[in-house]
Every structure is written in C-alpha cells, then in structure tokens.
Symmetry: D2
Subunit: 340 residues, 4 copies
C-alpha cells in the first residue's frame, strides 16, 4: 500500500435521501426559531414549488457540495422530477459529477493537512476532501477527446454538456445515474455560465491549441440567450440555490434579459438559497433575496435565505420533499427539447 | 384580540428528540465531508462520552437556543442522565427556562420587525423570537421574592439556582420538567458565572435595595471554587458546549484552577462545541479547541468544533444519542450532593 | 537562547493613536459604502458623544484586543478624557492590562502553531498571540496577595479593581499608564461582571481556600447595583462597545434595572459596537442595536454596528477623535467618587 | 425634486489613495496581532511584488467594491503601474466602471430600505448602495451598439473589453481615467471569464437576437487560453485578489493550464486575498491560499488571507504602496500587445 493510497482510503459516499425520512424533524422545526425555522420554511417553499403545477424549478449549484457527499441528492432531484433546469459552476458538473461518472472518487481528508506533502503526492484538497490529481487529468482528457469529436462551430455550455451526457450514455459511464447522464436522458438542460473555469477548461484549451485550424468555441452569449428562452417558456419559476456565485446571478438576470428582449415575464415566484456567505461585501453570492427584489428579479412572498453549510441541511430538505411525494404528479417539462 | 396578542400568537414548541430517530442521518453523514461530517463526528464524540463509564459530562449553554425551541432537549439530557453538571448564562436559566417553568411562553416573531412598535407594545425581541416584557417582569419578581425568603449570607449561583428549583418543586411550577426543577430533583448542579447578567439581576438588585440592612450576596468566587470541586471529584470529563461565552471559558479554567490548588487533574478528555462564532477576534467564544489545548485545558484527541447555528444540528445529535441508548447504563453522579 | 525565548521574541507593541492622523481617511470613507461608511459613521457617532456635554461615555471590552495591540488605545481614552466608566471581561482587565502593568508582555505568534509543543513549553496561545504561562501565574499570585491584604467582606468587582489600581499606584507597577492604574488615578470605575472568569479567579479561589475562616467575597449583585447607580447619575449616555459578551448585555440592562428601582432614565442615546459576531444565533454579542431598542435599552437614532475585527478599524476611529480634539472641553465625571 | 432624485442624492465619491499617507498606520500594525497584523503583512507582500523586478502583478476583482467607493483605487493601480493584468467579474467592469465612464453614478443608500418601493422607482440596490436602473439600461445599450459595430467572429472577453476601452477613448467617455479606458491606453489586458453574467450580457443577447444572421460570439475558451499566455510570458507572478469567485479560480488555474500545454511555469509566487467569505463550504471564494498550494497553484512563502470587508482595508494597503513608491521603478509589461 503506497503512502498515497493510505491517504486516499476513505471514499466519500453520497447520502441517499430516500434512506431516511426527515418529515418529523422538519415538522418539529416549524415550531421553533432561528435557523431551524429557516430550514423548515425552506422545505415548505420547496414543497410549494413542487405542488404548483405551473412552476418550473431551476436548481443552481456553486461550491463543492457535490464532492462532499451531496452528489446523489442532485441526481435524485432529476430522477424524481423535482427539477427542470440546472445552472452550475463548471467544477460541480465536470470536476465532480462527470469525474465520478468516469469511475473516479472523492476521498475524506483533513483540513489541517500538510499541503506541501499533498502537492508532492499529486493530491488536491478541497477543505477536508481529497482528489487524486492523476484522475482529474483523465477527466480533462475526456473533455479534450469529446471536443475533438465535435464539429467546428460555437457551442453553448448547455450543448457541450449535452454531448458529455451522450458520451456517458453511449457506454463510457463507469458509474450509473450521474447528474450529467440523467439530465441527458431526461431532457434537463444544464448551463455553466463560466464553463471553462473548471477541468473542462483545460481540455478545451488543449483542443484549441492542438487544432489551430479547426476548433470549436464556447459562446457564453448563447448560454444567456438559451437560459432566458427557458425562463420565457416556463413562465412561473422557482429557484433552489445551493451557494451563490455566477449561477445565482445568471438565473436571476433572465427576468431582466427577457424584458430587454421585449417579453413580459414574471419575477421568480419562489426562491430559496442555502449559503454561508456574508452579505456585507456586496457580492451577489451573499446578497439577500429581498435585495434581488429591488432589481425586479425575485418576488418576496416565498423567499428564504438559509444561512448554513449545505451538507448539513440540504439532506433534510430533499428527504422531506421526497417522502411528501408531490413530485409524483409533476409534469415533465423537457426543456432540452427547446433547443432541438 | 389586542394588537399585542395578534403578534404573540404562535408560541415556540420545543422539539422532542424522542419523537424521531436521527441515527440513519448521522450514519450517512459520517461518509460525507464539510459540516455534515463535523456533525457526525460530534455525535460520535458525544456517544463516546456516554459510553465511557468514568466520564462526567458538563453541558455549557450560551446564546438563546432555549428560547428558540431547544429547551426540552436540555431538560431531556437531565431526564435521560446524559449530563452531570451545567454551566450557563443567566439568561438561559432564568429568563428562559425558569420563565417557562412559571407558565410563560416564547413566541415566533420576525427578525425584520419594527422595533419601535415592539417597544411600544412591551414586546422584547431576540432575533426572530418574541417575549412579553410583562411576563418577564413577573419572572424578575419571583427572583426578588425567593431572595427575600433566604437568609443573609453569600450564596454561589449554584446555591441560589438550587433554591429556585426547590421553589418550583414545592408547588410553584406551572410547567413540568423544566431544566431548573429537573436539575434540583436529580442533583445536577447548575452554575451561572455571570448570574446577575440576566433577569435574576433585576430581582436581586431590588432585593438588596429594599433590604438595605439584611440582604444576601452572590459570591462569584464560590462558583469557581465549587465548579473546580466538581472537576476534581469527576476526574475524567467531557464538555458539550452550545455557544461559547463565559460558560465555555469558566469550565475550561477549572483544570488550571485545580492545578493552582495543588490537585493534579486531567485535561477535559472530550469536547464538542457548536457555534457560529468567528475565531478571528481572539475571543474565547470562538477560539478553537486546539487553541485551548495550548493552555492545558482540553485534550485534542476527541474534540470537534461544529460551526453551525445550534437549533439546526443539536436535535440530530441528541436524538441519535437518545436512540443509541448508552445513557441507560450510566451511573448517576449526583454532584449537587458534594455541597450538602 | 532557549527554544521558548526564540518563540517569544517579538513582543506586541501597542499602537499609539496620536502618532498618525486618520481624519482624512475617515472623511473620505464618509462618501463611500459598505464597511468603510459604517466605520466613518461610527467615528461620527463617537465624535457626537464627545461633543454632547451631557453625555457620559461607557466603554465595554470583550475579546482579546488588549493583548493584540490595542491596550494603549483604551488607556489613552482615559488619559484624554474620552471615557467615564468601563465594563469589561476579567481577562481584558486582569490577564492583559494588569499583567502588562506588572512588566510582562504579549508576543506575536502563529495561529497555525503546534499547540502540543506550545503546551510543553508553557506558552498559552490566543489566536496568533502568545503568553508566557509562568508570567501569568505571577499575575494570579499578585491577585492572591492583594486579596489576602483586604478585609473580610463582600466587594464589588469595581472595588477590587480599584484596589488593584491602588496597588500599582503605590509602587508595584513596572509599566506606566496601564488602564487599571489610570482608571484609579482618574476616578473611572471599571466593572467586570464575570470577574472570576479570568486570571483573577485563580488568585481569588486560592485566597478563599487558604483562608477558610477569613476571606473576602465578590458580590456580583453589587456590580449591577453600582453600574445602575452610574447610569442613574449620568442621565445621557453613549456606549462604545468592543465585542459583545457579558459587558454589552450588562451595561444595556442598567436602563431596565433603573426602571425596576423606580427611577426614570433615558435609553442609551448613542451606541456603536465593533464585532465579528454573527447575529443568527440569538446571542447578545451579535444582536443588533436595533434589537436592543425593542427592549428599551438603546435608542436607534445614533447607533452603528461595525462588522469588523476591531484591531483593524478601532485605531482609525480613536485617532480621528483624538485629532479632532472634542475631548479637550469635556468635563470630568469622576464616577468612582460615587462610591466613596 | 422627485421622490427618486431625493433618494439618489448622495453620489458615491471614490477614495483617493494619494490624498492621505497610511504608512505610519501600517508600520504600527506590523507590531500588533489579529487582523491588523494580517493587514500589515498584506501590505508587505504587495510591496515585495512591486519591488521584485521579475514579478508581474495580476489584480482580481469580485464583489461590488468598485460601486462602493474603491473604483479610483483600481484605476490608480493602472495609472501608477502597480498592475499588469486584471481578471474581474463582468459587473465590476461593465456595470460599475464602464457605467461611470459613461457619466453615471452610484449613490449612497440604506441596507434596510423597502425594496418594493425601490423597485417601483426603478432603483436597484447593492447592499447599502443604489443604482438608477434607467442609467444601467443605457449602459446595456452602449454594449449593444459596440457589438453591432464589430465584425462577425468569436471574441475573447479581453478583446471585447479592449473595444470598450477604445470606444471610450475615441470620445465617448464622460468621465476621465476609468479603469477600462486606462487599461486600453496602458496595454493592460482585462479578462472577464463570465462576461455575459453582467450588464454586458443584456446588450450582447440583444445583439445576437436582433442580428440573427450576423453576430459576434464571446468564446470563453479563448479567455482561458489568453490568460494562460500571459502567465507563460510573465514567469514570476503575484496575485492581488479582492474577493474570490470565478476571477480567483480562473487566474490560479493558469498554472495548471500551462502545464497541460507542456509549458513549465512557476506557481504564483505572491498572493494576497481580501475576503469576508467563510471557508467552510468548500467554495473557491473562501478557500485558503494554503489549500491552493495543494493544487500546485500558489506558493506558500508569501501568501496572506485578509479576512475583512475590502472597502475598510484596501485604501490603507494601496496608499502605503503608493507612498513607498516602489512602482516608480517598475517596467511596463504591456501584455495587451501579446494579442496584436
């Protein structure tokens, strides 16, 4: 057993929200105060979104909760028809989900580790979680190969991620039921507005450099246009936001973008955000949903900020929704078909 | 229905950790990362304390979680023999627990409320929770009456709180199973190192002012001496800390105090702390348990900081411990009997 | 040079607010937003307190900023008549200020240090600052000796700290112009509502244990009564709060205490608080000053929460006030004389 | 005077780091602890970057400090040759800097404002700062016009921002010395890896929708390739990061990207980051620079995280560097010329 394999010995196992029933906890928390009540209220708003038969649900992902054990929660939200579109950081989709679909793992680590030693062993650290850098380079390489196989033209990130799902679906997946593959199969579009800011970026730059005459591009304008198309088509929308970052801002801005294109659309009717961010620096990640309402982006009737680290509270919210079962009656929106 | 009673219409109901079983959630979280793993590890350390038949457990309380729905958790920790001594802020013991033992309630409120209007209605606000100021003055008055009934001499806060428990036990309690009364009945000493910094303070100052020739005093040196006596008697100890503040520092200092009195005692062997505090101001509330080990106060083998707002995670930890049942075999330490 | 002296080689030097002029910075920040404007507004409110000839100023200290280089700021606030009473944690007064008055030092350290090694060398750590534990025990011992020299009766913490100031004044000080000594000389009362939760506690417990028939007590009720007397006498008051904790709550409660004693007093008219605390746990440390107004404690016209670590912003505020010079015309309130 | 103009009456004035000299404050803070010492150490590392004649300095901007009064600081860093490349959020560059270059203003506001009322008046809120939504739409429109004037091909964000600088330079600027224009004039490339996630996005989507046969695209792969070219050319680099987000991750990843392209480059040698982010969610914004070293991105010899809201500390750092004057001897790197 090498030193490296001793350090990478405890793989992250992703929590299964169907394996326990959080409903009695959430119900008790409705009668409490502080974060427990915010948690219960977030659950309540998510259940309202699922019950509202006009409402399309958009999930946004920022931060590394997929690496930290929440990956199956997001995949299950597709499996159980709790989500209609996804806006994410590139890392969540490529470095984490697609990476594990290729058969690789994340590992439990230590936030106090000696980073120089990790570096010497080619182990990357995310807070208390480890990644084998050699595995990650294989992931970069898969992106490179997929890019090489596609025709020379501008793609939105959504189109490229669709191709990644297809690649997995066509026999390259080592792990079943990844988010990327389930989204492909269920016509759920995934957008990464800063797609190259991830492992994908390495593969794509290499693709351009090695094919100087014949390469694809990622058109970030197309992403915004397409996500706005989804918003226009959807009408009533609810946002389920994990962290903030570009995904949060991007999806909120679709309301304004639709206006500028001359389409009258409603503000996002429901919105919940789980974050540890601090609102005092004026960054969008941490800005309250009340603030977003000044911009005409989010309505304030059904909104809740839940200040918590998501791994500790998200499993309770989604388990509650799973067991209440409102998802069973939801229609499939198949928004990926808008772009075919 | 008055405007005030409209605002004070939803009383806080305290969560019952026996009404749901968090074990499968905690077990899943052991395989994850970030705060979920910290939560699972906190549970694990608490279970280790309960299993260690030499270990006495000291609970410390700071912040207002008792008002926010966790009051029954702390009482149940006495009922199910999960705790041997308590160190708390005066507010937790007097304004919250003793207050509800007198039949009063806390109410769900709104952190964005108009504080001027609340003031005009004699409603006090703690973040998103309300208190009827008129009820609180009755609580002050009960302390005044208890003080008037006692003999003229210095008391430790422990002695005075013992008298409060007796007063409830002797027929004055309107609510059963308050922490103060259960502690009295089960010989669990409760210490409030800053006792007068609470509703008790108002009653006690009035007592001294109205009995200028014949009043009791609260000797804060006696508190420290007595808590050190508990530490010396206990030997092996584990700390379960909700928030930081004076209670955290006070209980940690008993190790040093014993040394200064010439007694060799072990550092606290186990320690968990749930807090939202930020460690960057050098305040004790937020200082890590690793830092405490530089002072010789806390051992670092079984320690965990859990950065979370306690109402959202504490119910999971104590429900897990309740259902695992290690408490069933614990001996009763009856530390109050040390002082008889 | 021993290993210990190598580690304790850089003593903290306390910043001198007269050595630079922050006025142009504060003036520029008035035109900005976010924390810079909160900082400028805090300065403005402090200047208003100093200009208001009816206003008595109460400084509260929690956290370890005295150890981290702000000790001279607080002493200078007495020297330049910017403060009329002080409410502090025991650590700020005894372990830090009195400790340095005895000639000992704090040292620059490292928050990533190996705490086990520090423990083996008898070095205590506060975040990134070190203390020689052997020096600290000499400080405990001085308290023990002072206590032994006093008569057997209950003391308020204010009375005991007055005796500490006298002890320094009478030739025992190794460093001039400590806060404790300046307060003694200038009739500024200092209150520590949790006095024994500090190095003083060790000395005082030893005093009681070694003099079982003839010992003094610290009556925490007397503290609250006396601070309320200051509030009643002062009328108009302004609070300058560094951190939160017991000092913040204690001084705010004097308004209510005066009411209960049948005296009509005004809410604290001005209030600024510098803190890194998070308001979401319902603890007093972090509760907003708006919340305090629901309790009738603090008026909301001139209040500012400044969310920052104090060492980085406090020097700017007090340097600005020093150079504006409104303190030159303030009368001396000599509140210590109330208790003679 | 309309209701709107009453609310938008106090324009933000940007702080001028040459108008005061922070050197004595920084020098004092070197002898302190906690955040003051982190602040002094950040200054020291920035000065080391400026003194190192091999070092290229890359500034990253996330959050809204440009709107809050720091806009001139960033422009002055170009003017005084303290920076060689910039990576920013789209909002910092387009909605804030370009917006003010067009003659519009940000205004002081109130974080407790009624957001519904603001919405009805077309006032957008960023924490405690206001923007006239009508002005912002003129900014969107300018982007639309610039896009319409350019040829149909993929652009990197750098190329497009270069065109914005040219547009300002060619007589459209209403305010002198904007960052965008100074960068154009001084050959400082600006990259926005999520460019469409800003006011630019609205103009660019409109451009594509209204020119369905003949539109430009923004190729986000090109951004990553070009920034990596800068890193390869620069060799030794120092990072000055305000906030985290995509800009932080993007610039760090250039080290890995160069490796993947077969170029051996050094890790970033110097790095400072000012942030209020909390590291416990595993998001890149808050991840420590030590963590980045496990990925081989940032060296750990000269790195400093400064946990503070930037508006309160950044002016001190840059004023110190301005007055020390090491910038006077720095060579101009003119990295924009790499792409001509």
């Amino acid at each position: 057993m090498t030193e490296k394999s001793k350090i990478l010995k405890n793989p992250i196992e992703h929590i299964d929200i169907s394996s326990f029933d959080s409903r009695p906890i959430i119900e008790s928390m409705q009668k409490m105060s502080f974060s427990s009540r915010d948690l219960a209220r977030s659950s309540d708003i998510f259940n309202k979104m699922l019950l509202d038969d006009k409402c399309s649900i958009i999930l946004t992902l920022a931060g590394s909760t997929s690496a930290a054990g929440c990956m199956k929660i997001y995949a299950d939200m597709i499996k159980y028809n709790m989500v209609d579109a996804i806006v994410a950081t590139g890392a969540s989709i490529v470095d984490m989900d697609f990476f594990e679909a290729m058969g690789f793992k994340h590992y439990q680590g230590d936030q106090y580790a000696d980073d120089k030693k990790l570096r010497s062993l080619y182990i990357d650290r995310i807070y208390d979680t480890y990644i084998d850098e050699e595995d990650l380079q294989k992931c970069d390489h898969a992106i490179f190969e997929i890019a090489n196989s596609l025709e020379n033209r501008p793609y939105s990130s959504r189109e490229f991620i669709y191709e990644m799902g297809k690649w997995l679906y066509e026999g390259n997946a080592k792990k079943k039921e990844s988010l990327v593959q389930l989204a492909y199969e269920n016509n759920i579009p995934i957008f990464c507005p800063a797609f190259t800011d991830s492992s994908a970026g390495f593969g794509l730059v290499k693709h351009q450099v090695e094919n100087p005459e014949n390469y694809l591009t990622i058109d970030s304008i197309a992403d915004f246009k397409e996500l706005t198309d989804v918003k226009i088509k959807a009408g009533t929308t609810g946002l389920f936001m994990i962290g903030g970052g570009v995904p949060k801002n991007f999806v909120q801005d679709t309301v304004i973008c639709a206006e500028i294109l001359g389409k009258e659309v409603d503000m996002h009717k429901y919105a919940i955000q789980i974050t540890v961010a601090d609102s005092r620096d004026g960054a969008c990640s941490s800005s309250t949903l009340k603030e977003a309402s000044s911009w005409g982006k989010v309505d304030v009737v059904y909104e809740q900020m839940l200040y918590a680290e998501a791994t500790s509270v998200l499993p309770l919210i989604v388990s509650d929704a799973y067991h209440r079962g409102h998802w069973k009656k939801r229609k499939h929106n198949n928004y990926s078909k808008l772009f075919k």
